[in-house]
Symmetry: D2
Subunit: 430 residues, 4 copies
């Protein structure tokens, strides 16, 4: 793994490496706990649809991940906190045996929240030992594993927020996750097109830092010339699409999307409320007036595709987006903090990273030469390469430092509960 | 209403009546709260199938019932605790407007448990005022309403236990509601038949005390001569039915029951675990060895009917059971207490009341001359007179003092999560 | 069986008995074939919902019934037409083994219609032999079996018409089974009430002629005094119920019925088309203007019950209807013929028999002392005694001579595709 | 459209063009009719799952296509056969209005088969007139439209066979479409790998002949070097995969595929019967012993993908297959005839075209620069570009002359009823 080599070659002292790892680990774990702070036991136990997992489950599952992939194989004498937790908190690793059905995660009332907190403390203490006592020769490998564990738990941090948003939204009276003041609105910037000549380019993770296996191997691909919008589509633009009859015009929609619109009588994004002219939306800060200059969010692929069709443009290919993002700095995105503003705002609108995940029209598929790793960890990404689309960018709920240009998020086309929007692309004459 | 007249004619002083009512009310409400004491917030919020309601919901709904049917119409100046609660905690009263879908009661994470406790306290304080300050001329009517409210909340007390049993049962590791020592087993008594000559008899509530509207009006009906078993069917007898291939013999089953057995691959009662020879069962006290001398429980109507068919006897008619129960004293049943043994035991086996609800083969239908009351309260019983069967008796979870010979419980034939069993009957030659 | 004794004691010569049986058999079989005459192969093969069976299936199943219950056990040397047909054309007899799933009867494209006709001819020839050659001593028993077979096939004759009506109705362009001129409308008669004193009466089949096992045993029951409407409810009366908001008023409906109205957005009987003021209905003679003086048909139990609630009266008990029908002659009903008018008309309206099956509020349950016969034939009626309601009378589709006062038809409360209506009842002061 | 220009430039006389078009049209239409010849009315009306359309529907829908896209707009004075047929026989064109629900195509018993034959004759006569009388200046455009209509009806010819195979298969007794002698088996050839260097290549339809819009536009793409198997995977190889536990090894399967295997307890391809060592399969010629040297068929994408994973190789990209097929001649495939052998055989095994459709791992997506045509015809392909995979090749059921290297067939990953198999690919070191 690339990270392993990088660590080995970095020349920093072992002690410094241990301190860095321990610090990164603890910061990560504290952040997860902090995300749960505003929630009651009932909030943390509820599962309001199959896609949603209870907060408590996320807190336990991430601990199980450290236990299973780091502590059990690498910390001599480690005692598993509760051997029955493997059944409850394994997400989808077939190689690791039977598990609680996904749709019934909300039925687990015991262990309770306090018990899960004890589980986290048990794992944290052991991880501290592992980082302290690991043989020098194993340190680079450990560091690589810790990076994977951090990236994994960061994904679940975003899911905690994503899922609790759904949980709170189905309470009939507009509950909120936390109070926060929205950033002051920026004056509207002029959206435009950035042009790219295309040609033969190299894509995918370059091995310089941590990346998931699905980001590699690096490979060449040919792109025709294209242009990418400088800004994400805004709520205001999406409101125009609705006003123009977008949800009633079959010719704009993919067949499956139109069937869905008809069957569910859909006429607006998941969390929009109200009616044209008086749109409001449910956010983690309660139900609010919509900021028309902010990126539209919680679109599924079908909505994003229909909107693009309506404009006469199209969704980008994932490699077009990656090419455009190479010169952008993920860290330039508005910093997300668990006690800050957890919703796209006008300040996010011109940044490739940080406002909403952006649907591409690329099906989630293996890169040329990709092979999943062997063993349970090989189930992390590869087995989902069917029926999903790649999203690029990152959202207002993404953990700081989590994303990069080669990052490939993926969801099925009917997923609405993720913080997903779009950025347009168009062909250039060749 | 009969209770009203009884109170009016009772000759007890108004002050004594008020004291009695207040005492009964407070005892009831304390018992509900006590039933929730062993449970966490997550336990109290979970809904593990559509039939199950969360404990929290029961605690709130019963308060809403007092608020809606007593406080709002009868306590001048009463301020509703939260006007939005009518939506959340109305169970099924169409006349009172829209409400939270039944299957999504477990999605209500807010109000939380503490908020519901405050709701209870608010209602209790107001009920205290109402009982204290009610005009003398209204006292008899108030007493009748309070009796209805008590009977209603007692039903929900049984449901709290019934429902939490299901919630705990789907946790994969055999959780328990509380620890308790089982009563010492009685030596097996000789089960026999009690014979009745039948003829023209009067059935239904006689107006002497509180009864639900579906227990009346009193009416005549003709019964052929019959015999009723002196004891409920035991776990041991039911285990013989299983061992004899009862679940594989279509000829014993009603058509709908057999379809269900096939579709669900059923081979034992809901909470049985294990296999022939080593049966165990899930109880509110955890998973335990089955007491073969105790009444079998958690049978649905189809199982009860197939068992009866297997014996060559039959289920009783509801009026046969009522006739037999006239001379029995409901108070003779083993007293159920929330911190006692919450499961049928051998001591319950020979008592008509108190072990398990006993399926009759009588469809739940209006008695001759029955008319539902007008207004919302008329929805209490009448609108369910279709597709359900009458059960008689009472169970180890029934609130003390709740049942009587004319009491008509009712559930659909596929209901298994109630504490239901059976007592055999047979025709006598005329 | 009662019929057996009656034949044995009748004193008619054996030869005459054989001629009578043969004649009745052949008339029956010809009528079944005639019912299929207006239909194409596609019409006869289609199954448009699970309750509907293809015409071809009915033609084959009735032949299988004769083969299985008469020819195989009683005709020495009988060769089964095709041993695989038992799988295809067994309806629901568990004792006779596995069978084609009910919902997939429309998937059987082979054997084709011609093959099924050959099957019928094969069975008919064998039945002719059986009736001719049966030992004298067995003739009475044979006669009883033939009566059962006739009654069975008559039921399927009604189902052929009932089911093909649904099949034709889902063709989008108003197809018709046959052209026929409607009977001339009668001037409206004054509907009134017929009063009955009640008391202890005897009910059920009296053993004088053929009856299904569920009509017995004869037994005593007590009825309070009541009145029964002299006429069935008409289309005109039902249209008033609709105009008065019957389908929007929850308080009129049973809980399950209201859920169904809401879920299916129902606002009229199954085959009604159009809107208030311009109602039309689909009939076997195509879509037509509704005759407001004819009995309303194709109501489910919930609609019948809600209508009765709206009037302030109620549905009758099955024994009330039977008592009233004792002095009526089933043969007085308008004769139904396969080439005649196959729809209720104003001439049917005052007759207890012959217009529409009339819902009673009696759940379909065993009479006191009822035991199902042993063997496969015991599955005919008994195993359905759960979740259904008794209907009395007979309809414009019922085979001539098929019904009597003790006849108990039964369907689930949500069945709409049968020709079902209602007749009101009310309590009399005692 | 490319065909238009080709015709215009071809230099053949108009009369010859008309003769050619008329001849091609009539041959096509006769072949459709011939395909239905072995079928009864019931066979032709049945719909045994939602994906299956009745033969009768295919015969009518293809006629409706000619009527709607050629006769109505281009033949002056054309009278539509029956204006109601647009509702019944529109497949999925939203722009053309409401239509019969797909799942209820089998409910249309009227019009009957004879009526549909009359519809075909009406359309054929009009098409003859159109081809004869079309203005010279419109002839090239007409020719292009006729080619589209032919390609469309050829697709439905394959569907007639594909769908009737399913219909016949669910008859419980192994019916057959027609008797035919299998081709004599070839001695097994040595399967090997054909290597390709990759690089920047041009893909998609080149405009030289008819192609569907989804085959264009021609565009450049970069391929890494790869090898493609010289033969399709055989039944024998697939039987080894089963014997090796392929259906029980989660690590081989995509997540959605494994869920499907579990939920449906799948252990073999759709039409396989029997058990390891004695495999048989249902074919259009009845149930037969499996030819182990013939290509395996009726795999869904998940099975194809799991098999490839088991071998350590992979499915090809669609452009890899296209590159390999450039030098192959589609006409070299075993000629398919409606009265010949309608099943893959060993003779098909080494041919890129003609045995089974071969799954690629390429999601069905627009080529760079693709825009759907405007109007109803634009719904032909574009709106399905989501959730499906591209298949290349052609099958033993494909109409002669129908396919080419750029042809893109597409189905969802769970489609099993198509004649689908696979050909392996692997990466070459670069």
């Amino acid at each position: 793994m690339a990270v392993e080599a990088a660590f080995a070659a970095s020349g920093v002292s072992d002690a410094a490496t241990r301190r860095t790892l321990a610090g990164r680990y603890l910061a990560l774990r504290s952040r997860s706990t902090a995300l749960a702070a505003p929630l009651s036991g009932e909030d943390m136990g509820a599962q309001t649809m199959e896609d949603v997992s209870p907060t408590k489950w996320h807190l336990a599952h991430t601990s199980w991940f450290w236990e299973t992939f780091l502590l059990e194989p690498h910390l001599a004498g480690y005692e598993v906190f509760d051997p029955r937790f493997g059944f409850l908190f394994n997400s989808y690793y077939e190689a690791l045996g039977e598990r609680q059905p996904r749709a019934a995660r909300g039925h687990i009332t015991r262990p309770g929240v306090e018990h899960v907190r004890a589980y986290r403390a048990h794992v944290d203490a052991a991880m501290e030992r592992l980082i302290e006592r690991c043989e020098e020769g194993d340190l680079a490998r450990l560091a690589a594993l810790v990076e994977t564990g951090i990236a994994h738990e960061e994904q679940h941090q975003e899911l905690i927020l994503t899922d609790i948003k759904h949980v709170l939204s189905v309470n009939p009276f507009g509950e909120r996750y936390l109070d926060a003041a929205p950033p002051s609105a920026r004056p509207g910037e002029t959206a435009g097109w950035v042009e790219f000549a295309g040609g033969l380019e190299t894509f995918g993770a370059d091995g310089a830092g941590f990346a998931f296996d699905n980001e590699g191997p690096g490979h060449q691909a040919w792109l025709a010339s294209f242009a990418l919008a400088s800004h994400c589509v805004t709520n205001g633009e999406y409101a125009q699409f609705i006003a123009d009859g977008g949800y009633r015009n079959a010719s704009l929609w993919l067949s499956d999307g139109w069937a869905r619109v008809q069957a569910q009588a859909r006429s607006m994004p998941l969390y929009w409320r109200g009616a044209p002219g008086e749109w409001r939306e449910f956010t983690l800060h309660g139900e609010r007036e919509i900021d028309m200059a902010a990126p539209v969010s919680h679109l599924d692929y079908f909505e994003a595709s229909a909107f693009a069709e309506w404009t006469g443009y199209r969704l980008p290919e994932e490699r077009e987006w990656e090419l455009a993002a190479r010169s952008a700095d993920p860290a330039s995105a508005r910093a997300m903090s668990p006690d800050g503003w957890l919703h796209p705002c006008s300040a996010d609108q011109g940044n490739l990273f940080g406002g909403v995940w952006q649907w591409t029209r690329s099906a989630y598929a293996p890169y040329p030469g990709y092979r999943a790793q062997s063993g349970a960890i090989g189930e992390y990404n590869g087995k989902f390469m069917c029926g999903q689309f790649v999203l690029k960018g990152g959202s207002a709920l993404t953990a700081p430092g989590h994303v990069r240009a080669s990052y490939r998020n993926f969801f099925p086309p009917d997923a609405q509960w993720q913080m997903t929007g779009l950025r347009l692309a168009r062909d250039l004459p060749s």
